[in-house]
């Protein structure tokens, strides 16, 4: 079956749903933990953005060879710990990072590094769209890796759940002939 851009967008949304369900199930197991409950509540709020996401993807119409990225992880941290989440870009690809999303906690500090360059810091680039959800929008395409560095300055354990969203695209080689669908997309952009 030939995959159309619209189907790709639908697939991405299905994957977001699956990931959110996984995260929520994971955190339900931690329901006796207060900080886990807080994160669970934030994840419920993420669902509100699903429709916005759907419209955005439909407008964007990514090329059929793009591989969507909606990956997450979760880890509980003790006070005084610094966690570095590293998202490595596969060799031969560029990561078009739409956003990095992580639960926002007071008294904690956040930093973003793209390809080892400092990109964003707490209170400077964070767009707090939800009550407690921080969204970073890296300003460039990422070739090697993106790192999120968080310090738990709280007096309690905190579970951090970062999401990495966007897509990876193969790096074009010299002499590469573009397909018609890709040319159409670039013209639209």
């Amino acid at each position: 079956m030939i995959e159309t851009p619209k189907q790709t967008a639908v697939d991405r949304l299905t994957r977001i749903d699956e990931l959110l369900v996984q995260v929520i199930e994971l955190l339900k197991e931690m329901k006796e933990d207060r900080s886990g409950e807080m994160v669970l509540e934030e994840l419920r709020k993420l669902n509100k953005y699903k429709e916005l996401e759907k419209r955005r993807w439909e407008r964007f119409n990514p090329a059929k060879d793009d591989e969507p990225i909606y990956d997450w992880t979760a880890i509980e941290t003790a006070p005084g710990e610094q966690v570095t989440f590293t998202y490595p870009v596969p060799e031969g690809f560029i990561f078009h990072c739409d956003r990095i999303q992580i639960n926002w906690e007071d008294d904690c500090t956040y930093q973003i590094f793209t390809d080892s360059e400092w990109t964003a810091q707490t209170d400077e680039v964070i767009q707090d769209l939800g009550d407690h959800v921080a969204i970073f929008r890296p300003p460039k395409k990422i070739r090697a890796q993106v790192e999120v560095v968080v310090v738990n300055n709280s007096i309690n354990n905190i579970i951090f759940v970062p999401f990495f969203g966007g897509f990876i695209r193969k790096i074009k080689r010299p002499g590469y002939k573009k397909e018609e669908s890709e040319i159409d997309i670039e013209e639209e952009e």
């Binding site: 933990d33 207060r34 990225i69 990956d71 997450w72 992880t73 880890i75 509980e76 941290t77 003790a78 006070p79 005084g80 710990e81 610094q82 966690v83 570095t84 989440f85 590293t86 998202y87 490595p88 870009v89 596969p90 310090v151 738990n152 300055n153 309690n156 354990n157 970062p162 990495f164």
Partner: protein
């Protein structure tokens, strides 16, 4: 799916913590919080 790497350090010293050291810190903090909660309940 790409595997997201996680490195945990002590924020003050910058020392990388092993899984065992990290797990112990988390567990100790949980115990501490449980004791505080119990003490608060007793005081109430």
């Amino acid at each position: 799916m790409v595997k997201i790497g996680v490195t945990i350090k002590d924020a003050k010293t910058g020392k990388v913590l092993s899984k065992e050291e990290h797990d112990k810190r988390v567990l100790d903090q949980k115990k501490k919080e449980a004791e505080e909660k119990k003490r608060e309940e007793e005081n109430d």
